[in-house]
């Protein structure tokens, strides 16, 4: 595969290649499915601009969801409003203010970008991610 660069992080100067984007968003998409995101579901994304935002947005679209980005710069009251007004069941954010703002909303799950695939290694998941073989709980 060619090593085409699709994004450069203006802060760190780190580049995201096309291969990395494809891999990471694919890995993130399957985790979204496993967390119950269905086609047509709105997913709030409150991440600062950077590779994670692109990966997550692609992943949401790949599972048939509707990506609903919320600017990370908003103050907590505005965040609260936006989150409350959405019908999203899932929000993806790393911002503490956004996690707080999701209280009193109808968001069921708040996932961190890290939960959807660790930076630099799309195969390994941290936090809530689990390898396929984990547990012997019968699969649904």
């Amino acid at each position: 595969m060619d090593e085409r660069i699709v994004m450069v992080d203006s802060g760190t100067g780190l580049a995201l290649t096309e291969r990395q984007l494809d891999e990471r968003s694919a890995a993130a998409s399957i985790l979204l499915r496993r967390r119950g995101v269905r086609p047509g579901d709105t997913v709030l994304i409150c991440l600062s601009v950077g590779p994670a935002l692109l990966v997550v947005t692609d992943a949401v679209i790949a599972v048939g969801g509707i990506a609903c980005p919320v600017p990370a710069e908003l103050d907590e009251a505005r965040l609260r409003e936006r989150i409350r007004d959405s019908s999203a069941r899932v929000m993806i954010t790393d911002l503490r203010a956004a996690v707080r703002a999701a209280e009193e909303s109808r968001v069921r799950m708040v996932l961190g970008a890290a939960d959807l695939g660790r930076h630099g290694d799309a195969l390994r998941q941290s936090g809530h991610g689990e390898p396929r073989t984990s547990g012997n709980w019968p699969r649904v």
Partner: protein, 810 residues
């Protein structure tokens, strides 16, 4: 044997409304995350949702679905005890309870624990949950809590309120719930009231508990009136924190509103009900709560009124009442506000004390009562366990040590016969750490006696002896002196001091005979028989054993009768009369089954032991089918109660059975597994039979084969070794044919196959899109679908799969 239950989920008091997708989604999540915590404010419906999920997930859990109601637990150390109690796991002597619990949960298949209301013990719950899921791979935990547990394996799931109506529709969850409960309350609401119902649902923010409380009032107030009044309530809301989250304030306003509409006496009763730790029945309520201004005859009607208003719930099947945790807390605050907390809790303690004294007397101490009376007292006494704990907490908190100690002596539910010895020892130690100036010498002696009892069950024999000896010095009550003599007989025998044991058995018997106490006569005689057996005096052992059984029959308690029969079985075995031994063991089994069938988990260790002995003797008599049945039942009982010593005993029995059937391989394997298990729990055991068995095996099977069987058996898990003999299942040979996979149709669509094939060439989504003339987003979607179908988590895995599974030719 009665089938062991696979869940303890309560019958829900009314129909569950809404949240269909949430339930479905949570069931799936529980298959993937090890710990799922349902978070949210009180009254939002965490418990009801969790119960729905648990009930739906239940059939997939052969090891059961177990609800652990933590609201009734006040101290962190009781979290593990409560889990163990619900699962029927008993503490093993000298081993931490968590260890036993892990061993029990690790052994079985998938199991779900529902830890309900964790918030007040969140740190302990987090530790216990983390420890359990770390060691038990097939265990999943569903927790409900106002805050997350904050452990690594946790998935936090925030419970939202019910859906609110978008326009004026009646299909929103909140409206459906309100209408359902209003109908249940006997109110018919027509279309014309729908706009007000919608307004009310919005005002109550879709909070289920608030909606239920409001719906319960529709017989007197219209939805419009309720909506207006609750609006007023918001502005009047002064209790609680003004800064609390909006939902919490809404709920408090609704509860407060509903409470303020109660009659004065209903308010008094509601707040007093908060002293009950778990469910309560009418009798207990009358005894504890009938203090002015409430008279005893009024209680039935007042309770009925509270049920009608949805503040108290009633379980018709079991005939008991309970409060939702949110309501109980609210009521407890009102109780404190009214300055009644001390008085009512004190009354709760003394009423429990009287009740338990009565139950103990009927079950054990009083002469000449028929067995059904005794059994009923035992059952009633056990049902008070939650309240017992709450009362003991109050005795410690208020420093009422005398009453607390009295409660301990009379609560067989706390004693090692069915509970966890740790608990009674812990209770007594907490009480004894308080100011003891009001405690009499006699009571201190009683406390020591009780402590000795608990310590014996924990295998702390020398401490147990110390306390028992000191107790006897100060003890005057003849019944309790007899119990101490019996305990000493047992502990002294266990420590190899048969002469001293004899003395105590004789003293106990003499005293019991003088007072006409059948229970202790039986115990003393059984002790004398055991001493004689130890000394090899079989005829004497037989005579005392027969007398013990006769006295026990006179008393009628199945536990003591079984003890006599078991003793006679052991004596018969010692003189080589296997037929008689088997007969006695069978008799003991029948009595103990009767007991365990009436009172959950009562005498299970004794039952498991009798079954194992009966099974072994039956095997030696050539009664293979009966032996198999007894040993299997014993094994299951020991496994479920977490008693590894019991499991080892069964393995030895199975080894005897296998050899009797001519299966030397199985005999060696089972014996080896038993030896390894005993070593792992530090239990010492005689190796005589093993040596003989190995000698016979070497002669028949050869040195090499015997050694290899022995080492294979040692590395087997106990269940596997047991199955081998029970079902005659040989472990699969390590070599052998590869499992042929049935030819199946590919799960992928033609387009997905194309995408997968292109992935093997290492193409990017964009390049694949170019090849197939579709958009990159569509490629990404195909890839997500493929991963889901194949259960993969990366593109690379698909590429490998596609290389091995070329597309079916069209």
């Amino acid at each position: 044997m009665p089938d062991l239950p696979r869940h303890n989920l309560p019958v829900e008091p009314n129909r569950f409304v809404g949240r269909e997708r949430d339930i479905d989604e949570l069931c799936r999540l529980l298959g993937r995350a090890r710990v799922v915590t349902l978070c949210g404010v009180g009254g939002i419906g965490k418990t009801r949702l969790a119960l729905q999920v648990a009930a739906k997930g239940g059939p997939r859990c052969p090891e059961g679905v177990w609800l652990i109601e933590l609201a009734r637990i006040t101290r962190p150390e009781l979290v593990i005890e409560e889990i163990a109690r619900v699962l029927g796991v008993r503490q093993e002597g000298g081993r931490p309870l968590l260890d036993t619990l892990v061993a029990r949960l690790r052994g079985g298949g998938p199991c779900l624990l529902l830890l309900d209301n964790c918030e007040h013990l969140v740190d302990e719950c987090a530790d216990v949950a983390a420890a359990l899921v770390a060691s038990c791979r097939q265990l999943a935990i569903l927790a409900t809590s106002r805050e997350p547990l904050r452990i690594a394996s946790e998935l936090v799931w925030r419970v939202p309120p019910l859906d609110l109506p978008e326009g004026g529709g009646s299909d929103a969850e909140s409206v459906r719930l309100f209408l359902e409960r209003a109908t249940a309350a006997g109110t018919r609401l027509g279309q014309e009231s729908l706009p007000d119902v919608v307004r009310l649902c919005r005002a109550l923010d879709g909070l289920p508990l608030a909606l239920e409380l409001a719906a319960a009032r529709t017989s007197l107030l219209s939805p419009a009136q309720i909506a207006d009044r609750i609006d007023d309530r918001f502005s009047l809301l002064t209790t609680g924190e003004r800064t609390a989250p909006a939902r919490q304030r809404t709920l408090l306003a609704a509860v407060q509103w509903s409470h303020d509409l109660l009659s004065a006496k209903e308010q008094v009763l509601l707040r007093r009900l908060s002293v009950f730790a778990g469910p309560f029945d009418l009798g207990l309520t009358e005894r504890v709560c009938a203090v002015p201004p409430i008279a005893e005859p009024e209680i039935v009607d007042l309770l009925g009124g509270l049920i009608h208003k949805s503040l108290v719930l009633y379980d018709e099947g079991r005939g008991h009442y309970w409060l939702l945790e949110t309501i109980r807390r609210f009521a407890a605050e009102r109780l404190a506000e009214a300055a009644e907390r001390e008085a009512v809790r004190e009354r709760h303690l003394s009423v429990l004390c009287e009740l338990q004294e009565r139950h103990f007397a009927v079950e054990v101490a009083e002469a000449g009562l028929p067995w059904p009376h005794r059994l009923a007292a035992l059952i009633r006494s056990r049902s008070l366990l939650d309240d017992l704990r709450a009362a003991l907490d109050w005795a410690v908190e208020s420093g009422n040590v005398p009453l607390g100690l009295r409660l301990c002596f009379n609560s067989t539910g706390l004693l090692p016969v069915s509970g966890n010895p740790m608990e009674i020892v812990g209770c007594l130690e907490r009480l004894l750490s308080r100011d003891l100036t009001r405690v009499s010498e006699e009571q201190l002696a009683q406390a020591r006696g009780c402590l000795a009892y608990g310590l014996e069950a924990r295998d702390e024999l020398s401490r147990s002896l110390d306390h028992a000896f000191q107790s006897l010095v100060g003890l005057r009550d003849p019944f309790q002196r007899c119990v101490m003599h019996s305990l000493l007989t047992m502990v002294l025998l266990r420590t190899g001091r048969a002469d001293e044991a004899l003395g105590h058995a004789e003293q106990g018997l003499a005293l019991a005979t003088a007072t006409g106490d059948a229970w202790n006569q039986a115990a003393g005689l059984a002790g004398l028989s055991a001493v004689a057996l130890t000394r090899g005096r079989l005829r004497e052992a037989q005579r005392h054993g027969e007398q013990a059984l006769a006295r026990a029959r006179e008393h009628g308690h199945r536990w003591m009768m079984a003890r006599g029969a078991t003793q006679l079985g052991a004596v018969a075995e010692a003189r080589g009369d296997l037929v008689t031994a088997w007969d006695h063991y069978e008799t003991a089994i029948a009595w103990l089954r009767e007991l365990a069938g009436g009172v959950e988990l009562c005498g299970t260790v004794e039952l498991a032991r009798s079954l194992a002995r009966g099974g072994r003797v039956a095997a030696m008599l050539g009664e293979f089918a009966a032996a198999r049945e007894r040993l299997a039942a014993s094994l299951e009982l020991s496994r479920r109660t977490g008693q590894r010593q019991g499991v080892a005993r069964c393995l030895v029995g199975l080894s005897v059975l296998a050899e009797a059937e001519g299966d030397l391989d199985g005999a060696v394997l089972a014996a080896a597994a038993a030896a390894a298990l005993r070593e792992s729990i530090g239990q010492r055991f005689a190796t005589g039979r093993i040596e003989e068995l190995l000698g016979r095996a070497r002669a028949k099977l050869g040195e090499g084969r015997t050694t290899s069987l022995w080492s294979r058996g040692r590395s087997m898990c106990p269940d596997e070794a047991a199955r081998l003999v029970l079902e005659g299942v040989r472990p699969a040979a390590p070599a052998g044919a590869a499992v042929t996979e049935p030819v199946r149709r590919s799960p992928l669509t033609a387009r997905e196959h194309e995408v997968a094939a292109l992935l093997t060439r290492g193409l990017s989504n964009r390049a694949i899109a170019g090849e197939l003339v579709i958009s990159p987003a569509t490629v990404a979607r195909h890839i997500a679908n493929i991963m889901e179908k194949l259960g993969y988590t990366s593109r690379a895995q698909i590429a490998v799969w596609a290389a091995e599974h070329p597309a079916p030719s069209a």
